[in-house]
Symmetry: C2
Subunit: 348 residues, 2 copies
């Protein structure tokens, strides 16, 4: 089953490696006809893309957990879309799928690359389009396995204190809500009153520290009087250093990201209080979500249940138009998004 007329595909490609902030000139806007996917292949029309801090890392040269985006390549992105052409019995036209769609209007996959791009069908009865990019998608999975497998909150000793940065962001909102569901005391850190109010009043964190207004150190003293048992770090930099001064014995720090450092033009600021790990016999450990791929389905099932019964909320911030991608990405680093940042490329 195929669509007939040739499709025009608008794409955003990496023109050069950014120094510091990824300004508009690092991108090339290109247009081409969608390639025929061949026998066994499919074409997916992008509906929405996930805009993530990790993208900044993919733009740098050098060894990381995945290869960098090559100069001239379409920018890597995860997204949700619908099948518009199928030469593969496993996919029907109008099936909704998530996976590596990249920053373009259409993705043409030959049979092998369907799997390589991690394309899987999703059920919109389980979650909405944007929820599949948020709580049920990579950010949600990152939060789930980062908290549960790396952070290992002590579920028998109720009331461990979990602190999470980027609390209103995609990963942060999942981590905090999940920690609450599991019986922890949860303190968020976010930028601005609006985000902090939402995190406490709408989502149910015990407290939220506004790092843009006042001292994080004072906030931690006030809201974590018994210290910090689990710290889920999305930001690095000074906040990581401050939290290190407040951790408890045997604390666990999950290193998920360091958005404050991604656009540095000089070296990353290492945590100068890292010897607190020694004093407190504490642990700092990295998470890469892909390691948990064989258990995504279990986490999705659990989280979908929380969404259905109202125990978990999800908030997305939707920017419309593929041409807005450069600005959308910058919003992350300026802390301007409120909720999971999604770029809507097509409405249907």
């Amino acid at each position: 089953m195929t669509s007939s007329a040739p499709l025009t595909n608008h794409q955003i490609r990496l023109a050069k490696r950014p120094m510091g902030m990824p300004t508009r000139d690092v991108w090339n806007f290109t247009e081409e006809t969608v390639a025929n996917p061949g026998a066994g292949g499919i074409v997916v029309k992008t509906l929405s893309l996930s805009i993530d801090p990790a993208m900044r890392g993919w733009m740098n040269e050098g060894k990381s957990y995945i290869p960098p985006v090559e100069i001239g390549a379409v920018m890597r992105a995860g997204g949700i879309g619908k099948v518009v052409t199928s030469h593969n019995d496993a996919y029907k036209v109008d099936d909704v799928v998530i996976g590596g769609l990249n920053v373009q209007e259409y993705s043409s996959f030959d049979e092998k690359s369907i799997k390589r791009a991690g394309i899987v069908k999703v059920d919109l009865r389980v979650g909405s389009l944007t929820q599949w990019l948020n709580v049920l998608g990579m950010p949600g999975m990152t939060g789930y396995f980062g908290l549960m497998d790396v952070g290992q909150p002590n579920l028998t000793k109720q009331g461990e204190t979990v602190v999470v940065t980027g609390a209103a962001g995609a990963v942060g909102q999942t981590v905090g809500q999940l920690a609450k569901i599991k019986g922890c005391r949860v303190v968020g850190i976010a930028g601005g009153k609006e985000k902090c109010d939402w995190v406490v009043n709408e989502v149910g964190f015990d407290a939220c520290i506004d790092y843009k207004n006042g001292s994080v150190k004072d906030g931690l003293k006030q809201h974590c009087p018994e210290g910090v048992d689990v710290y889920f770090d999305n930001v690095g930099g000074e906040i990581l250093d401050t939290v290190l001064t407040r951790i408890n014995k045997k604390a666990r720090i999950i290193i998920c990201g360091a958005i404050s450092q991604y656009n540095n033009t000089t070296a990353v600021n290492g945590p100068k209080n890292y010897l607190s790990l020694l004093v407190n016999r504490a642990r700092m450990e990295g998470i890469v979500v892909f390691d948990y791929a064989d258990r995504y389905h279990l986490a999705v099932a659990e989280m979908a249940g929380y969404l259905k019964n109202g125990k978990m909320k999800s908030k997305e911030d939707v920017v419309v138009g593929i041409d807005k991608f450069p600005e959308a990405l910058l919003m992350l680093f300026e802390g301007k998004n409120f909720g999971k940042l999604v770029l809507q490329v097509a409405s249907e």
Copy 2:
């Protein structure tokens, strides 16, 4: 049973908190008569003291894993001595004990403070005086539990690569030899040809990188061609940063100390490559040996076996005379000691 004549006790007390290196002027040399320990108490004559990098931390104000040494107090030190006065049935005159003796010729313990100082009897048939301060003492226990419990070398997958700094030092020599016994590939890092030669030729490490002659990065490339699985860090600073660039997936970094940073007059240098923990899903975790006190006897029994059957060697560097304490301590920070540094206060 008591000795009769009043004993004169020479002591070294902390006169002020050092800024940077602990120069001679931070110490007060005092003399007083040994106090009567009272009913249930004992007096221990110091034979040898353990000189450790951790001492530098105890001299600073501020929260740590134990309270700082107060200004005017006798400097804290672990040591080995013999009982010269006993009002306690559990101890006889001439019993040999280890524990918190501090930098003085005699320690007078009332009944309660015997336990508080961690005084335990030792058997010189199991190990020599200096071995009880080295492989069978705190450094050995730190190496044992740091490697086995925190580092968790994979003993079923033989040949994991363990890197240890201060390789000829007290903790380092234990860690490296134990890792070899457990089937790991072991690469030391030490300062100077003499130490490196000893570590490889006498002790049996697979290689040793001389950080004073050549690049640690090149050394790691050459001697750890398959990367680093376990890094036991005693030094911090640049070497920690360099090792972070060579760790494997799921690597474990044991933070035992940071001797390169203890005398900084400005802030500690945080590991600027800490995001390697994220990329490699690796872990950095602190160790404080006291946490394992209930298992010391098991580790001592195991290590004593290795000493007896020649699988493990121990090297001590003995400085003679309590008045040499200030200079002995500085030797550590200048890397001048070769083997576990011991201060001999009395020969019998």
